[in-house]
Amino acid sequence: MRPIDWIVLVGTLVSIVGYGLYRGRGSNTVGRYLLADRTMPWYAMALAIMATQASAVTFISTTGQSYIDGMRFVQAYFGLPIAMVIICATVVPAFRRANVYTAYEFLEKRFDSKTRTLASVVFLFQRGLSAGLTIYAPGIVLSIILGWPERVTTVIMGATVVMYTVIGGIKAVTWSDVQQMCVIVLGLVVALVTVVLLLPNSVSFGDAMYLAGAAGRLNAVTTNFDWNDRFNIWSGLIGSTFLFLSYFGCDQSQVQRYLTGKSITASRISLLFNAVAKIPMQFFILFIGAMVFVFYLFTPPPVLFQRAELRRVEGSAAFRPLEAQYNSAVERRKAAALALAEARRAGDAEARNQQIGEYRAAQAGIDDARARTANLVERSGGPKGFSDTNYIFLSFVTHYLPAGVVGLVIAVVFAATMSASSGEINSLATVSVIDIYKRHVRPEASDLHYLWASRAATLFWGIYAVAFAGWGKKPDSLIVAVNVVGSLFYGTLLGCFVLAFVFRRVRGTATFIGMLAGEAVVLATYYFGHVSYLWFNVIGCVVVVVTALAVTAATSAIPATRQPG
């Protein structure tokens, strides 16, 4: 980090916090603190929804994902527009007309207190786990750049987020999200332009696209159906529809965003904006990762991007043959890539077919050497299931981007963390106060009392997020870890809301039993089955609905047979 990078980074963060605090002033009632008195315009809600969903994990991990596996992760967002349409048509007007603070408050109006409480507890547990993951990501950034311990960076990050969230409430969170989203879009565009400019002069943008595609890095759609395959068009269209129905329909961190809207129309437009913009944005981020892959065709990449773990094995005898294999394959791949680009430009089909074989064989050699080195790291005392996916993009940023751009990209990571964390902490506090404290502990206190309870709960969840930051550092990819955690619980919540909206005969006890059954089946599938996480949402939802309907049928049959005469 050079001085200009520090100026860009610190200037961006200070302006975001200052702007959030400025816009959040006057949040002196519970209605203003938690729902901004329902006065937010659609564009602020739309950008806040997008920013809350785009955590630092999105940039750190998604780019690494496409470097390793190509762009097929984009399919995990194909269900988003379908989910948004369903939510706009059903959930948004129902929540607005029920005049609720939280999604779970609606469940008590529809079912009973125990169903509301169970759904609230499931949300607090799930979102609490995710909050730890969200705030951990910048720890990776500064541990690479400055060598600071991850714990120090998470404490600084957490303190910053908690400060403006505690003081300004949802208005501060939403307006700082707007600014953060602008920084994110600017940073992404600059990052892509820069990586393309860093390619050798002899390699055109068309060549770069061709080389990325030949290595399978532009595989946006895969049509083969496989239960074990995490990302294909079927899990994307079906599984992710359920995931996003749960996320935007039942997760308070998103529901609270559109409950702040001036009108039903404002809430709907903010969600539909996301339905249109999210897939292109995700495609764009994945494309950056694919271009980073092309960049490393011509600039030798390290065997592992997590240099601390690489140092663990560099001196060992077992590493030397792996390093030799890797270096040889990298050289062969570079030569084949240049020849392939030349053959493409010349329109020489025979040379192109020959070079593609050599290019892919060299890539297989690189993948093999990297996999065996990762295995060696594990055997040398490194983390189990070691993977450096989360370090690829940041390693590239810090080593090759020019002064100023590094600061901007790091600011993007921080802005994304702040937007996602503040939204999570704010929603966790809202559910804690409205669905648990006010409902079960102090039902008749003053507005001022609940305002301070909300601030105290915000502070508590901020500390909790920092304390549990980093628990998910072992998974191969943080972006996948976040979605897996969500999918373990979302299906159950979604099933509960499907019962609320679709099956009017079903009552609270049947729903409660259905939720317990659904969660048990999802957890059993996770531990004992071999099913992609996107399907957990479908399984959980279906089990909740079927169980509740069965219980309803059974219990409605009993009184009928016992009724005298």
Binding site: F78, Y210, V221, L237, S263, R268, A275, P280
Partner: protein
């Protein structure tokens, strides 16, 4: 269903009715999926 208050449901700012807006979003999704599939085929 829970007790509901009256909240006016205005027309959307474009396309006249909400069902038309929803249909436009789903058509957009179909176009995006087909475009992504063509993109994959073009560069594999």
């Amino acid at each position: 269903m829970p007790e509901l208050r009256e909240v006016p449901d205005e027309k959307p700012p474009f396309l006249g009715t909400w069902p038309r807006v929803y249909a436009a979003i789903l058509i957009y999704l179909a176009v995006v999926v087909v475009a992504a599939w063509l993109f994959t085929r073009a560069y594999r």
